[in-house]
Amino acid sequence: MNIIVRIKRYDPEQEKKPYWAEYSVEADPIDRLLDALNMIKWTMDGTLTYRRSCAHGVCGSDAMRVNGRNRLACKVLIRDVGSKVTIEPMLGYPVIKDLVVDMDQFFEKYKSVKPYLINHDNEPGTERLQSQEQRERYDEGTKCILCGACTGSCPSIWGNADWVGPASIVNAHRFIFDSRDQGAAERLQILGKRDGVWRCRTIFNCTDACPRGIPVTDLIEQVKRAIVYGGTDEA
């Protein structure tokens, strides 16, 4: 089938401001949107710039705004986007070129919530024990691929670039609720500050945007409750 791919393009090195480019692409309905972008880059316009790597939704490189919603280009099929598809860089991030955005600040925020296991006990000779229920408690957050789709979809980020954002909270949740971790209090203190969880207005854009099906808003709410109740027991 033939589709029109409309792409917001901008190369700050060469151009004063962004513009829209349109490409007519012959694609199979079950092709990925990423396949259409590749077709454009390889056969029509080599200057079109975007990130991609695994091409099947596990590396998180190709998050972009597709018909107004953040998606991974490798998980969206042509048959699902209509005969004319609009693609833009994600909002909330500085644009480097075309669909490539600057993720550095995103990763700095991620680091700020101490996204690593904190445990002061001596390591046992074998594994630490964890029951299946304890393991299940933080399962959702472990699926995160740090693509940034949730954070870039959040109106609170659009309004305040300093906000820690949903992806960081998801990854804090992953450790706060891990029975092996002893750093919950430190993280809850960080997330209780002004640019922590409370800037979340439960808009649910993040949940809609997550390509891994993580209930992002729900996890944020659990962290809010943990802060209010002073710990993870009642959250």
């Binding site: 080599g46 710039t49 596990v58 630490r128 995160c144 740090l146």
Partner: protein
């Protein structure tokens, strides 16, 4: 720009990050052409093998035996011993770093079956694969990246390495391009680790990421380092039809079976003991055989992976990602429908030759190139021989990534920086400048497509002298055509057309070495199956191929190195049956 570090690690996947963790007191730079969490380790699904014995009796020696036999005896046996022994401790290390493994009823790391892993030297399947749902590689990558943040490792993200500098017989620096600015940087170091992964993109149908372009192998090869056993390339039996995306062997570990167009679970006919859990080279060949004999689905070039009998609970809880892939890319519901699959280019058993401390060795006499290390898929230790067992790639990353880091810690304590050669950036700049100024009119995409078609046609599961010669001529022509590749994007800023063009050059080198090795090896062993030489030939071929880049563009010199065996009758090469 000039940088000076004790250690430079190229690649931020499992091996690179594991190595970085062993160097707490050194100045370390990790260079990656993506962001660390985009590395292809993250796509690994099924698990990481270690004889923990959490579910049933198991021993590292059984794991070693399976690794040696699975590799069709091209494995260096002392390396396989290290792999199997140290896997246990390395898996505990991952757990201590926070990896969320699935758990048994009593809270230990859960383990499941995988192809070629057996109890008591081949008696039957054993539960050895430690796993986190079907995203074990993702969890290893996340956990190691998180550990790296904790240890304040310095990353250079989106830097494409272009050259390795060797001076006074030592590796002394890498030259890289910062993708965002196009600027060239020299990283001067006492020791350098390549952990850059594989080259699956040389084939059209592949499970590999776009990033898997053979960078490290080619860069070393251009500087005179040989590539070992490149003809040993694994085709995973269960790639999604046409797309190539992997459906983990964990699906068969949990009880899934391959099914032909006549509704027959055909593996029982070929391999009566292990059936669908036979090693990958064998299952891939059986699929190709079924298709050739007209038992593909509707006479076409695919068969099915059948999970229906596992039930919705097992499928949803233990195989959620691959189920999602089948739904998303094929519109098939694995709970109620069988999934169309075909073999997909998956893993390089070969690569940069190293010893068991990940030191790169450059000839048949095991002469090291001081300061240069390689680990993970880019390296050939060799623990995988002619065919890697499922889950052993992740074991390789953590065991030999760790050994690389530990050995580098020692090396940098005992050695100073070797001086840089004159004009260190000249070769890298020349590559870039040639692409910017080329007016040859050739499209990189055309060259890449032709290479991928040729590799699918002639350098796939089955090979012949005639086909390989055809591929050789074709790649030689494409190497010439590559010199005329012309770009449309002349900008410096985030020029991905330039990145892709440079990577294409890497891929062509890897393809070339693969074909030369395959043509010369007149036997069938593991993943290298020759229709014109169907038997394994230990008298002549129990040896590793070393391919050196010749002086001309598409000239390759081959040498050979003995396989290292140990004196134990259990590991004596014998016919491989399952």
């Amino acid at each position: 720009m000039y940088h000076k570090f004790d250690v430079v690690i190229v690649g931020a996947g499992g091996a690179g990050l594991m190595a970085a963790m062993q160097l707490p007191n050194a100045s370390v730079a990790v260079l990656t052409k993506v962001y660390p969490t985009r590395s292809h380790t993250g796509a690994a699904q099924g698990g990481v093998a270690a004889a923990l014995g959490n579910q049933e009796e198991d021993h590292w020696k059984w794991h070693m035996y399976d690794t040696v036999k699975g590799g069709d005896y091209l494995v260096d046996q002392p390396a396989a011993e290290i792999l199997s022994r140290e896997a246990i401790d390395a898996v505990y290390e991952l757990e201590h770093r926070g990896l969320p493994f699935n758990r048994t009823q009593d809270g230990r790391i859960d383990q499941r079956r995988f192809g070629g892993h057996t109890r008591n030297f081949g008696e039957g399947p054993v539960r050895r694969s430690c796993y986190a749902a079907d995203r074990t590689g993702h969890m290893i990558l996340q956990t190691m990246y998180q550990s790296a943040i904790k240890n304040q490792v310095r990353f250079f993200n989106e830097f494409l390495v272009l050259d390795l500098l060797i001076n006074e017989d030592r590796a002394c620096a890498v030259v890289a391009m910062e993708i965002r600015s196009g600027e060239i940087h020299t990283f001067h170091a006492k020791s350098i680790l390549f952990a850059t992964g594989g080259y699956g993109r040389a084939w059209r149908v592949t499970s590999n990421a776009f990033a898997c372009m053979g960078d490290g192998m080619s860069i070393a090869y251009r500087r005179g380092v040989p590539l070992q056993d490149m003809e040993m390339y694994q085709f995973h039996p269960t790639g999604i039809y046409k797309v190539g995306v992997l459906l983990s062997e964990a699906a068969r570990g949990e009880g899934g079976k391959v099914l032909n167009g006549q509704s027959e679970y055909f593996m029982a006919r070929y391999m009566p003991t292990l059936k669908d859990l036979a090693p990958r080279d064998i299952v891939s060949r059986c699929i190709v055989q079924e298709i050739k004999e007209g038992r593909g689905v509707d006479g076409k070039d695919y068969v099915y992976l059948d999970l229906r009998h596992l039930g919705a609970k097992v499928i949803t809880e233990k195989l959620p990602d691959i189920t999602d892939f089948a739904r998303n890319y094929l519109g098939v519901e694995p709970i109620t429908e069988p999934v169309p699959i075909q073999p997909t280019a998956h893993y390089a058993m070969g690569g940069i030759p190293t010893d068991v401390d990940a030191r790169v060795v450059v000839d048949a006499q095991w002469t090291p190139l001081p300061g240069f290390y390689a680990a993970g898929e880019v390296a050939c230790v060799s623990v995988h021989g002619a065919n890697r067992l499922g889950t052993n790639s992740l074991v390789d990353l953590i065991v030999f990534g760790r050994r690389a880091g530990k050995h580098m810690a020692k090396f940098i304590a005992e050695n100073d920086h070797a001086p840089l050669p004159s004009e260190p950036e000249a070769f890298a700049r020349e590559q870039v400048e040639r692409l910017y100024s080329s007016t040859g009119g050739e499209a990189a995409a055309r060259v890449r497509n032709e290479m991928q078609s040729e590799m699918m046609e002639h350098v796939f599961v089955e090979r012949t002298d005639k086909g390989l010669r055809h591929a050789l001529d074709s790649i030689a022509g494409l190497q010439e055509a590559y010199r005329n590749v012309q770009m449309q994007d002349k900008g410096k800023r985030f020029n991905t057309e330039l990145v892709e063009a440079i990577e294409l050059g890497f891929l062509l080198d890897c393809a070339e070495a693969t074909i030369h090795g395959a043509l010369a090896r007149t036997e069938s062993r593991g993943a290298h199956y020759r229709l014109d030489y169907e038997k394994r030939d230990d008298a002549n071929w129990l040896k590793h191929t070393l391919a050196y880049k010749g002086t001309k563009t598409h000239d390759v010199r081959l040498d050979y190195k003995d396989v290292v065996l140990i004196d134990d009758p259990v590991f004596k090469p014998k016919e491989r049956k399952y």
